[in-house]
Symmetry: C3
């Protein structure tokens, strides 16, 4: 399959080298005369390695799998070298896999899709917020994953994220006293399918049973915070943000639906997220939020996105004719479109200030062209139309509408 | 041997990929009503990658060996990517090996043992303090190592440690003006041995000839400091600590003794550490400290820990029956116990305040069960009973007794 | 060639592992009674990993090349893990190569030479300053590179550098709002050449079209700054430094000349650098600077430095007799000498203070002996005679003359 692998002839031991480059080069088109109150009136265009990875995965003694992957890219600026995936798995009791270490526990159709084969440069905002509660990359956890030919299920007990330092950081991380405990659950499958079509349905749940303890001296001791970058991370600013909410716990529930017919794919997810306040002020109710997205892909050159039941998610399309102009081969070409919305406001106009959460609402249209010269190389050109509607504590509007254009250049093996 | 290796058929060139995951998940059981003066009344339980490594070692042009290994794990929180081992060695003049670069110079039985095959998650406190003076991981040095079938000797001139940033740090490192110079010496061997038994004896010395110069503006310009975490590092706090002592130099001497009979192993070490004060205040004498440990292992499944004369240390037991329940194979199982004590008090009740060093005394009992499903995978479950007896400058007791439980999950190749 | 490589038999796919250690151990010999105004009166001797790398490069699907290389070494102290090279290249349209990612765009004879095969531990000061404007390591850019048997040309549009954190840093990096845009151009070739000799000529240009925007609150919003370490980086201090100059743009032009006859090589480069001030104060003119160097090599054992037209630069000499004393083989030995000068003063005695740039003048003589036991291993012993002549804003002399000795130990594959 073109991946550099060292293995014993019987496959009992194997090691495959992995490398990833994802370079984003973006230009932001903002209005010239935004009011002074607006957040991020000058977003930083330019170039950023979103992902820069090296690692090895494989198998030892037959039924033990491992994945060791390190990350040097990041959001806004590059990270200072950190663990990306680091886990050990026992797969000797089919159809179950028992896994412990750092990995993103399955939490939805976008969450489970490979970032190398993704339809857009970033996940839809709501899917990214929801997975962030008790899952997301570098989450340390342990649990069980299973799948058959047409079903998938997983249950993972999760702890903290691996700590990291971003090269563009302006301060060290807050010290942590006791770490978060949570759960990530998912069931999904392919109830209807035919020769050249399939329907995917799924449901998932994230539960934060015990938030991180930031210590007695922290402003908000058990802080949960929902916030998100606008589906492009060359500038690392988050435009919607609930701020820190002192919480006893949180839950997110997601529904997944997708249909594929030959080279056409449409998929969407809906998430509902709620927080349980700790020692709420009088009149402050428990906030809840929701959002959804729908996105579609049309592979112009006829290939179809691959459905992988081991992850219950779609991956990049195959490339029937790898780029070779002298033989009239131009790779695979794909058109993509997405609408994504997230509402991080809750009781934002309540008469009781302690009840209000003014996180903002964000709607994004994205149109993209993806070119796959071959299965290892990908270029994505995406146009964003972003609309953020948000008030600050004094009621002033601090949102904005803007456009952005991004080129992602990728090699991944 | 199951390790991913690329080599020429004649072995003149070789490169072996290495990866390590060591994940600690710990729970601390502290008393509820500790006095306010006590250090670390709320130790942080949770999960931490103690080690997360990738690298390559091997051989070029026959007699030149190298080791290139990077670390992304850490104590308390993960480190931000750093050198772990990085050295070049000439082994063409048998039985000597000439080595330069970053490596832990041999300084005792626990120091020389592989961290992947270790009996407990951490070294005994005193062995870790002693090796820290002029040795320890990432020490830059150069020297010569030699061994025969029954003897081992090494002499290394050592300099500074490689600098690093921990992801959980709260401040940058202190600037360094001139770097430490020291020496690490060791002789060891197997004077008595038979078909299924052996006795190991050894002696080692660390000498700090010139401490690091932290610059004219530093509070303590030539600071030496003895301190240690309590043999478990999910929380990175050090409970015993002499504080910074302005010093001209320091010495540590260690004695090693071990005996193995079939699947039984008992080993112990004693260390004596002394510091030479620089410009001592009137009545301040040169402090000295000591500590020892004894630990034993019983491999229930009958394998024995391997003695490696190239390092003059014990490594993990072999695994006669790799985990494969369908064939009734359950890997290797081992019981372990340790008592470890270190006394960092010196003249702690002296009438002259400048003479006192109130670093504290720490005694730790550890009981462990180690499971080796196969030679690449290990799980360790350890119970700790920790007792720290320490006074602060005003004479208040700031030590505590507590219990802890830790599970380490490991893959290493 | 002794490098660990995994490849398909037809060469369509390949992956070669790379590792580098460059350890510098230096001693500085400064005057004892330097005036208090002098910068860096106590340079830090000791040991430092200048480079510590791991990575993989190769080919996928025939005509797509990649290079993925990470760095854990640094100047003054080690860096906290970062991208070193990360690029994707299409080489299917000969003789052109189209490249995008992070790489040092070709900007001169020293710039283009491999750091593993270099004649001295560091580049000449002026060559390093000139490449720093719009090029240098970890520059993100895209463009085209081409060469024939006797010519080379490249044109690269360049952006920002990859951000990084040094383990010895004392503060986080400044936030960046909009990133630099520039160009790096080079033409070079071998107009005269014979069986055992050649003449290299070349010219290069760096253009900063738009400096980095450090934001409205920065002291100098569009800062350009020319500064340099004294051709040895165990101490990371820069002795010549223009300070930040608010600029609209900058240009550097370089001329390259070299001649090789058998085992003798002499080469030199001249650079002219000019900055365009932004909103200059009355009487402040646009500053310009220049410098040059000449260096020579004599390989005592008769091998010659290899000229690589793909980079239009010289690489290490071959090693006819790899080190093997028992067969009377001692590797390759080389003598090297260099004179390098850079003048970062401009109108330094102008009556108008805003016109003055007192960056200082630095002259360095270096004498070196290089030993190549085999093509993967190198030791370099270099003696430096450094003279810095510089005034501060009050007119006091803050330069100094000093000597230094450095040993570099290297393995690179």
């Amino acid at each position: 399959n073109g991946k550099p692998t060292i293995a014993t002839p019987d496959g009992t031991f194997s090691a495959t080298l992995h490398g990833v480059m994802q370079l984003d080069t973006a230009k932001y088109d903002q209005d010239d005369r935004l009011p002074a109150a607006v957040t991020a009136r000058d977003l930083s265009g330019g170039a950023n390695f979103r992902r820069a990875r090296i690692g090895v995965d494989g198998k030892v003694f037959g039924n033990f799998d491992y994945n060791i992957l390190f990350e040097f890219g990041g959001s806004g600026a590059e990270d200072a070298g950190r663990v990306q995936e680091l886990w050990l798995q026992y797969s000797g009791l089919k159809p179950l896999r028992f896994r412990i270490g750092a990995f993103a526990p399955p939490l939805g159709l976008e969450d489970a899709a490979s970032v190398n084969g993704s339809l857009f440069p970033e996940r839809p905002a709501v899917a990214d917020i929801a997975r962030g509660l008790a899952g997301a990359d570098t989450r340390i956890g342990g649990g069980v994953i299973g799948n058959g030919d047409h079903w998938f299920a997983s249950a993972i007990a999760t702890g903290p994220l691996v700590q990291s330092l971003n090269s563009g950081a302006t301060a060290f991380n807050a010290p942590i006293f006791d770490e978060q405990q949570g759960y990530a659950l998912r069931v999904a499958g392919m109830p209807l399918h035919g020769f050249d079509w399939l329907v995917h349905v799924g449901a998932n749940a994230s539960i934060v049973a015990q938030p991180t303890d930031l210590g007695a001296s922290a402003g908000t001791r058990y802080a949960l915070q929902l916030r998100e970058r606008p589906e492009l991370r060359v500038d690392g600013t988050r435009l919607v943000d609930t701020g820190q909410i002192d919480a006893k716990g949180a839950q997110a529930y997601g529904l997944e639906l997708a249909a594929q017919k030959q080279n056409l794919l449409i998929q969407g997810e809906y998430f509902d997220i709620s927080l349980d306040r700790r020692n709420p002020a009088v009149g402050a109710s428990d906030p809840s939020f929701n959002g959804w997205y729908v996105e579609g892909s049309w592979v112009l050159t006829g290939e179809r996105r691959k459905y992988n039941i081991g992850a219950a998610a779609f991956d990049a399309p195959g490339v029937d004719k790898p780029f070779d102009p002298s033989n009239g081969q131009w790779g695979a070409w794909e058109l993509a479109a997405r609408y994504s919305t997230i509402d991080l406001n809750y009781a934002e106009d309540s008469l009781i200030a302690a009840d209000r959460v003014r996180g903002g609402q964000q709607d994004i249209w994205t149109l993209g062209v993806n070119w796959f010269p071959n299965p290892a190389v990908k270029f994505m050109l995406d146009y964003y139309d972003v609309s953020v509607d948000r008030k600050n504590t004094t009621g002033a509007a601090i949102g904005q509408d803007y456009r952005a254009l991004n080129l992602r250049s990728q090699i991944a093996f």
